[in-house]
C-alpha cells in the first residue's frame, strides 16, 4: 500500500492540516463523528449477533471502514443524494437510516426498507457496479433542474472492474455531471485481492476520463470529510465529477456466510487493526480535550439503547402478510399480477382456482 495519500489525522491521532482540504475540526464536529462511528460499530456488532442467532439471514460487516463512511456522510449536505452498496453502514447511520429499517432487508421481510426520499439514499443494488450509473443519471437530473446539489456514489474496489462503473465514468465526464465517485478500496472483493482487479492504483483510472482524482487515507475520518466535501462542492458548483479512492480494509468477513481464513493471513488483519479509525479519532479528541467522560458515557448509553431497540424490534419480528408480496410490482394495475393475487388468496382460503 502506498503512503501517497491525503491524511489529516495520523494513526497516532495527530492532526495535520492540509492546504487543499481545509478543515477546522471543532469539538462539536468531532463529537458528532465519534458518535456516528460508535453507533455504526454497535449496529455492526448487534446485527452480527442477530445473524448468529438466526434472526437475520445475512449481515455484511463494516468493521474497519467506518472512518471514510462517516466522514463522507458528514461531507454531504442534507439535500445531496447518495448511492451505496450493502457495506456503507456508516453512511446509513449519518443519513438517518433506522437500523431496524435496514435489518428488515437482512431478515427477508423487505427488499429495501428505507424511505429513499426521506434519507436521500438510493436503494442499494446488490448487483455490483450497476448503481454507479444510477448516480450519474440522478446527477444529470440535478443538472437539468439547475439545482444546487450533488451526488455521492460509493462502491468497492471489486466494482471498479465492471463495465457499468466504466460507463458511469464515461457519462459523468461527458456531461460533467455533479457526482463524486467514492471507491472504498478495502483490499478485497470477497476472496479476491485488489491486485487481481487492477495492476495500477485505482486512483489512476480517473485521469483517463479527464476526471480529477485523489487518494486518501480511508481510516481517517477527517480526511474523508474534508476531501469529500471539497469534491461535492466542486460538483455542485458545476466543476463536474471527482474520483476518490479511500484506502481502507475490511477487517471482518465479507458477509456472515464468508470464511476469510481460507484466503488471507491474520497478520494482515492485525496490521490494519492498528490503523483503526476510531482509535485515532479518540486519541486526537483526548489530546484536544474534546472527549470527556460524560460524553463517552452518553454515547455508550445511546449505543446500548440502540442495541436494545434493534434486538427488541428484530427478535421474533413477525413475517409480513403473504399477500403483500403482490404489492407494488407495477405502479399501475397489471391484470396478470391481479389474477395471480386473486388466485393466491383463493388458494390460501382453500378454494380451488
Amino acid at each position: 500500500m502506498t503512503e501517497d495519500f491525503v491524511q489529516l489525522l495520523t494513526p497516532n491521532g495527530e492532526f495535520r492540516p492540509h492546504l487543499d482540504y481545509p478543515l477546522e475540526p471543532d469539538a462539536d464536529l468531532l463529537r458528532a463523528l465519534y458518535r456516528d462511528i460508535v453507533l455504526t460499530r454497535r449496529n455492526d456488532v448487534e446485527s452480527t449477533a442477530l445473524q448468529r442467532t438466526g434472526e437475520l439471514g445475512l449481515w455484511c460487516p463494516v468493521l474497519g471502514q467506518e472512518g471514510i463512511q462517516v466522514g463522507a456522510g458528514h461531507a454531504m449536505r442534507r439535500d445531496d443524494y447518495g448511492f451505496t452498496t450493502y457495506r456503507e453502514v456508516g453512511l446509513f447511520q449519518v443519513r438517518g437510516v433506522d437500523p431496524v429499517e435496514l435489518l428488515q432487508l437482512y431478515r427477508g421481510n423487505s427488499h429495501a426498507s428505507w424511505d429513499l426520499t426521506r434519507v436521500g439514499l438510493g436503494l442499494f443494488t446488490i448487483v455490483i457496479g450497476s448503481h454507479a450509473l444510477h448516480s450519474v443519471g440522478y446527477a444529470m437530473g440535478i443538472q437539468r433542474d439547475g439545482a444546487d446539489q450533488a451526488v455521492l456514489s460509493c462502491f468497492g474496489d471489486g466494482a471498479t472492474s465492471t463495465g457499468d462503473v466504466h460507463e458511469a465514468m464515461v457519462f459523468a465526464a461527458t456531461y460533467a455531471a455533479p457526482v463524486v465517485f467514492l471507491v472504498q478500496n478495502n483490499q478485497w472483493a470477497i476472496s479476491v485481492p485488489v491486485s487481481r482487479q487492477a495492476h495500477a492504483p485505482l486512483v489512476q483510472r480517473a485521469a483517463g476520463y479527464g476526471i480529477p482524482s485523489v487518494r486518501i487515507d480511508g481510516n481517517d475520518v477527517l480526511a474523508g470529510l474534508a476531501v469529500t466535501r471539497v469534491a461535492l462542492d466542486h460538483a455542485r458548483e458545476g466543476g463536474g465529477p471527482t474520483f476518490i479512492e479511500a484506502m481502507t480494509y475490511r477487517r471482518g468477513a465479507h458477509t456472515t456466510s464468508d470464511d476469510p481464513t481460507r484466503y488471507r493471513a491474520e497478520t494482515e488483519v492485525e496490521h490494519w487493526a492498528a490503523l483503526d479509525p476510531l482509535d485515532r479519532l479518540t486519541r486526537y479528541m483526548e489530546s484536544a480535550g474534546a472527549l470527556d467522560e460524560a460524553f463517552v458515557a452518553s454515547v455508550q448509553a445511546e449505543a446500548d439503547a440502540m442495541g436494545e431497540r434493534i434486538r427488541g424490534a428484530i427478535r421474533g419480528m413477525p413475517d409480513p402478510d403473504p399477500v403483500g408480496m403482490f404489492n407494488a410490482v407495477y405502479a399501475e394495475p397489471h391484470p396478470q399480477v391481479e389474477a395471480d393475487r386473486q388466485a393466491f388468496i383463493a388458494a390460501s382460503t382453500g378454494q380451488l382456482p
Binding site: H111, L133, H134, M140, R144, E167, T174, A328
Partner: protein, 325 residues
C-alpha cells in the same frame, strides 16, 4: 387526419409527449443531429435542445442505467436502442433495475422509462439487426411490453407508453416504419394500450399476432377467403400484460386458432397464447392451436429471411392444418 408513415407518427407522438410534459426527455445514440438512424427523432433536438434530446456515448448499459437515475429524480426518459440486437448489453439494467425498482422500493419510486427498440426482420439487414427479443421482456415481471401494428397505433401508444408510470419496452416493427396510414389526432385508441384489438371477425379460424405480423395477418385473411376460409384477426398490441380475453371469446366461436410471430417458436409469445387458449377454450377447440414462428436457429443471413419469416404461405399452411383437423 393526415397520412403518415410509422416513423413520422412516432416522431409526432414523441413531439407531443415532450410538449405536454417537460420532464420527458430522449436519450440514445445518434438521436440528435442525425435524428436517429431511422429518423424517428428527426428535428427534435433542434426544437427541444440538447438537454432534452441527449446524444449519448456508445454504451447501452450506460444509457439505460443513467435513465434509471433520471427516473429516480423525477424525469421520464425515453431511450432509443438503435437496433434489437444491441439491447443485450443493457439487459442487466433492464431486468435487474428498471423492472424491479418500483417493487424494491415498496412502491415509493416508479420507473417511468420507455425503451424504444426497432425490432424484427424483413428489411434485408446485416446480422443483429433483425431480431425479435420480446419474449425475454414479456417473461420479466415489472416490465410492460407494447408493440404497435401501424402508424396510427404508434402515434397514440407511444404517448401512452410515456405517460405510463411503469417501464415500457416499446417494440417498433421496423419493416412497417415506412407504411403509410391515416393518423387521427386524438389522444386515445379504442380500449387503451393494454388491450388487444380485434381487426376482423371471421367464423372459421382466429389469427393472433402483433407488430410486423398485423399487416401480414390482414393480407392472409384476404387471401384465405379465396380458399373459403373466413378468418378473425387479432392484434395483441400489448405483450405484457397479455390481453387474451378477446382471443378466448373469438376462439370459442371459431374453435380454431393460429398464433404468429417472427421470434423463435420455442418459448415465444405463441407458447403462452397456445397454453392459455387451450386451457380457457378446452371444450371449444376443434384442433390444437397452431404456432407459426421462427425456426430454432439464430436469425439467418438476410438472403434466407424470406424462408425464415412467417410468410403468407406458411400461415395459410397452418390455417389449412387447423381447418383439416
Amino acid at each position: 387526419m393526415t397520412e403518415m408513415t410509422m416513423v413520422q407518427a412516432l416522431n409526432a407522438g414523441l413531439r407531443r409527449a415532450m410538449e405536454s410534459d417537460p420532464r420527458v426527455l430522449l436519450m440514445g445514440e445518434d438521436i440528435g443531429p442525425l435524428g436517429g438512424v431511422f429518423r424517428v427523432t428527426d428535428g427534435l433536438q433542434k426544437d427541444f435542445g440538447e438537454q432534452r434530446v441527449v446524444d449519448t456515448p456508445l454504451a447501452e448499459s450506460g444509457i439505460v442505467g443513467t435513465a434509471v437515475g433520471l427516473a429516480m429524480r423525477g424525469y421520464r426518459p425515453v431511450v432509443e436502442i438503435q437496433f434489437d440486437g444491441f439491447v443485450y448489453p443493457a439487459f442487466d439494467q433492464i431486468v435487474t433495475m428498471v423492472a424491479k425498482h418500483h417493487y424494491r422500493s415498496g412502491g415509493i419510486t416508479p420507473m417511468p422509462i420507455v425503451i424504444r427498440i426497432p425490432y424484427g426482420g424483413g428489411i434485408g439487414a446485416v446480422e443483429h439487426h433483425s431480431e425479435s427479443p420480446e419474449a425475454y421482456f414479456a417473461h420479466t415481471p415489472g416490465l410492460r411490453v407494447l408493440t404497435p401494428g401501424d402508424a396510427a397505433e404508434a402515434y397514440v401508444t407511444i404517448q401512452q407508453a410515456i405517460a405510463c408510470d411503469d417501464p415500457v419496452i416499446y417494440l417498433e416493427p421496423k419493416r412497417r416504419y415506412w407504411d403509410r396510414v391515416e393518423v387521427d389526432d386524438v389522444s386515445a385508441i379504442s380500449g387503451g394500450p393494454w388491450t388487444s384489438r380485434v381487426l376482423r371477425q371471421g367464423i372459421d379460424v382466429t389469427l393472433v399476432g402483433y407488430g410486423p405480423m398485423v399487416r401480414t395477418m390482414l393480407e392472409v385473411a384476404e387471401a384465405a377467403t379465396e380458399e373459403g376460409w373466413d378468418c378473425s384477426v387479432i392484434d395483441l398490441r400489448t405483450l405484457s400484460p397479455l390481453d387474451l380475453d378477446p382471443v378466448f371469446d373469438d376462439v370459442r366461436r371459431t374453435g380454431r386458432c393460429v398464433v404468429i410471430h417472427e421470434a423463435p417458436t420455442v418459448l415465444g409469445i405463441g407458447a403462452e397464447v397456445a397454453a392459455r387458449v387451450m386451457k380457457e377454450c378446452f371444450f371449444h377447440l376443434e384442433a390444437p392451436v397452431e404456432r407459426v414462428g421462427g425456426a430454432f436457429i439464430p436469425y439467418p443471413p438476410n438472403r434466407y429471411e424470406k424462408h425464415y419469416l412467417p410468410t403468407a404461405d406458411r400461415i395459410l399452411d397452418a390455417i389449412e392444418q387447423v381447418m383439416s383437423a
